[in-house]
């Protein structure tokens, strides 16, 4: 499958290009300011530690999952194991029916985006309201998040004014502070009326049976405090062994995501309210989701993609994401992370163009707080895709091309001749070759050069220069 044409629409939209470029640029600046060695001398040490903790946890995952379950249960919570999204929705719909619940409030969770939970609950007649401001806006627009951390990154205050007027029936308001207060008012009512609060989880602490949530707005606190029932939905990879490990991860997460030393609210929640407590949920459920994760776990190399803590830093630093934005990726995860994990969860050949849509510049790996080797994984995907295509008898032309190249390389005289011909053909325009000349600009050569500008070949080859130099001396 080739890349979708709608990428061209994104590229041809200057305001959108500017919005994405500016927003990701700011996030990059914010991060840089708080990880530089003067303010955080042990940043690299923390990354190494985070990587080691995640590796260890995943290598012993069955043990930690059982430990987590035992501790959640001991504190009066219940663990629900789900193989896929349908099981999660099935559980929540049954729970809502049983508890006579009509309204669910949600705090931001990429895991529930993954399984289209909102749509499934709405289909069952349960009103489901996103409460993170960005998520609230895109839910009103019936869109998917544009960015893991900043879901409405592509929208302007005027877009927000439009959707608020249309969907909330309020006076048109374009001042961002006032728009925020409209959302606060609307959502406060929802919080206080909701029967069930659904959250995700940034971390699960096995030794405590705890769910850790990091937010800035306070919506996760309200989601897990106001309704009578709290349901946390988390992928099985979210575990860390001990609370003390959070000291490493919390220092990295906020800094990598938005340049904050800590997010405003970090909640460490274990089970329902206890004896004597005045507020907090009366019931607590932890939903553990597999949905392909165990399959990724089985691959020793690709396992590291499960280390991800969803900070979004690789998106901000990716030259491809910054041009094509978040809605041209095939799944809810975009950027380098999306390019690595979408093929793993949706099938390698499902969007086989995706691992190739990268310059392999390595910026993502440099900023990843848990040191996932994203470019290496993309290369492995490419290899697998090429092999699959070859096995299907596809990609013959490319193979022929490389054979020809290899043959040429073994014949120096012919190689030199080809080089001379090349320098005539590819003399370029103003030092750059933007397309193949004349009749040669056809077929795969045309397709390849249509997206790539290259410096024109020099008039004299290295061999010629070398010969001249030697004859001079």
């Amino acid at each position: 499958m080739t890349a979708p044409d709608k990428i061209l629409t994104t590229l041809a939209n200057p305001p959108l290009q500017k919005a994405v470029y500016a927003a990701t640029g700011r996030l990059m600046d914010h991060r840089r300011a708080v990880v530089n060695p003067e303010v955080l001398p042990d940043y690299q040490e923390l990354r190494t530690a985070a990587n080691a903790i995640k590796r260890h946890t995943l290598e012993n995952l069955d043990y930690y999952l059982e430990q987590l379950e035992a501790n959640v249960t001991r504190r009066g919570g219940k663990v629900i194991w789900c193989k896929d999204g349908a099981e999660v929705a099935g559980f929540l719909v049954r729970l809502a029916k049983e508890k006579n619940a009509r309204l669910v409030v949600k705090s931001k969770s990429m895991t529930t985006e993954e399984i289209d939970l909102n749509e499934k609950l709405e289909q069952a007649g349960i009103e489901t309201v996103e409460t993170d401001l960005g998520e609230f806006i895109i839910q009103l627009l019936r869109q998917k998040p544009y960015h893991i951390v900043a879901p409405a990154l592509h929208l302007t205050r005027y877009d927000v004014a439009d959707v608020f007027t249309q969907r909330l029936g309020v006076e048109r308001e374009t001042v961002i502070e006032k728009q925020t207060m409209i959302a606060r008012r609307v959502l406060r009512e929802k919080f206080l009326a909701a029967d069930i609060g659904v959250s995700g989880a940034n971390f699960l602490v096995a030794g405590d049976g705890a769910v850790v949530l990091c937010t800035n707005e306070g919506n996760a606190r309200l989601t897990t405090t106001a309704p009578r029932i709290h349901v946390a939905v988390a992928g099985i990879e979210k575990l860390v062994p001990r609370a003390a490990d959070l000291a490493v991860f919390l220092k990295l997460l906020g800094r990598s995501a938005t340049g904050q030393p800590l997010t405003v609210y970090t909640s460490f929640l274990s089970g329902p309210r206890r004896e004597g407590e005045i507020d907090g949920p009366e019931e607590f459920y932890l939903v553990l989701l597999d949905k392909g994760r165990t399959q990724v776990l089985a691959d020793r190399e690709k396992r590291q993609s499960l280390f991800c803590i969803r900070c979004g830093s690789c998106l901000n630093h990716c030259p491809v994401y910054r041009k094509i934005g978040g809605h041209n990726y095939p799944w809810v995860y975009s950027g380098p992370l999306g390019a690595v994990i979408s093929p793993l969860y949706q099938g390698m050949m499902h969007d086989s163009w995706l691992p190739f849509a990268s310059s392999l510049c390595g910026a993502c790996a440099d900023v990843c707080p848990v040191k996932i080797e994203l470019p290496k994984l993309l290369l492995e995907h490419r290899e697998e895709i090429v092999r699959t295509k070859a096995a299907q008898g596809r990609g013959r032309l490319e193979k022929l091309g490389f054979r020809l190249w290899a043959w040429l390389m073994r014949h120096p005289k012919l190689y030199e001749l080809a080089g001379t011909a090349g320098s005539v053909i590819a003399s370029g325009d103003g030092g750059w070759m933007t397309r193949l000349p004349g009749l040669l600009n056809v077929g795969p050569g045309k397709a390849w050069t249509s997206q790539r500008d290259m410096p024109a070949l020099a008039a004299q080859s290295f061999r010629q220069l070398w010969r001249e130099r030697r004859s001079r001396s």
Binding site: A49, L222, T225, I236, P272, R273, E277, T294, Q295
Partner: protein, 210 residues
């Protein structure tokens, strides 16, 4: 059952068997700087103010009470059942309601109050953070629903940072069902990355260090 299927898949993926002990985990990484209490208070102030939180020092409990009264400016307020607030005389201030034991009443009061007053279990100097363990003494909503949060804390509870916190509390779940770290006022930047304070939680936070 999905539980058994998932656990079996995990074990197969890892080549492990049921009940097998885990490898030794990497040693927890703990770095606690040697910092005196005055320096910790100063760090706390700087970090909190960088987030537009307001920092106050009171020489005595009486002064703290006067400070709090000045901040409230007659606003209706809800105070938690923390004994420390009673010691400071906060619960006797005019317009302050306290002693809630029933959720519906607490919720009603918090939803309409102009300020919530609490203490905290710890402070974290390097980030200007309040650490709050929920209990019968500290309900969750008081620091959450009103538009302003005022916290009174004794100076000696300010720790250096996260590493020290988790050294003192290696298993927070033993003590509470909810530990919340509060670092500055509620904020968002979801529309055009413009910073707005007070989205769902309090837009104003005051910490009075006694």
């Amino acid at each position: 059952m999905s539980r058994e299927i998932i656990l079996e898949r995990v074990r197969t993926a890892l080549g492990r068997s049921a009940g097998q002990a885990p490898a030794a985990p990497p040693e927890a990484r703990v770095r606690i700087p040697e910092t005196g209490v005055e320096e910790r208070i100063e760090q706390f102030r700087r970090a909190l103010e960088a987030l537009a939180g307001k920092f106050h020092v009171a020489a005595s409990k009486q002064e703290a009470r006067a400070r709090a009264a000045g901040l409230l400016e007659g606003r209706a307020a809800v105070a938690s059942n923390s004994p420390y607030l009673a010691e400071c005389g906060i619960t006797e201030l005019e317009g302050v309601r306290s002693g809630f034991t029933r959720e519906a009443e607490l919720r009603e009061a918090c939803a309409t109050a102009g300020a919530g007053i609490t203490s905290a279990d710890y402070g974290l100097a390097d980030t200007g953070t309040l650490v709050m363990l929920s209990s019968a003494r500290e309900a969750r909503m008081i620091s959450l629903l009103p538009p302003m949060h005022v916290a009174l804390i004794p100076r000696e509870i300010i720790l250096t940072g996260l590493d020290e916190l988790f050294t003192i509390l290696p298993n927070p779940a033993e003590l509470t069902s909810s530990m919340v770290l509060i670092t500055g006022p509620s904020r968002t930047a979801d529309i055009e990355q413009i910073l707005v304070r007070g989205v769902h939680g309090p837009g104003e936070i005051h910490v009075i260090v006694v």
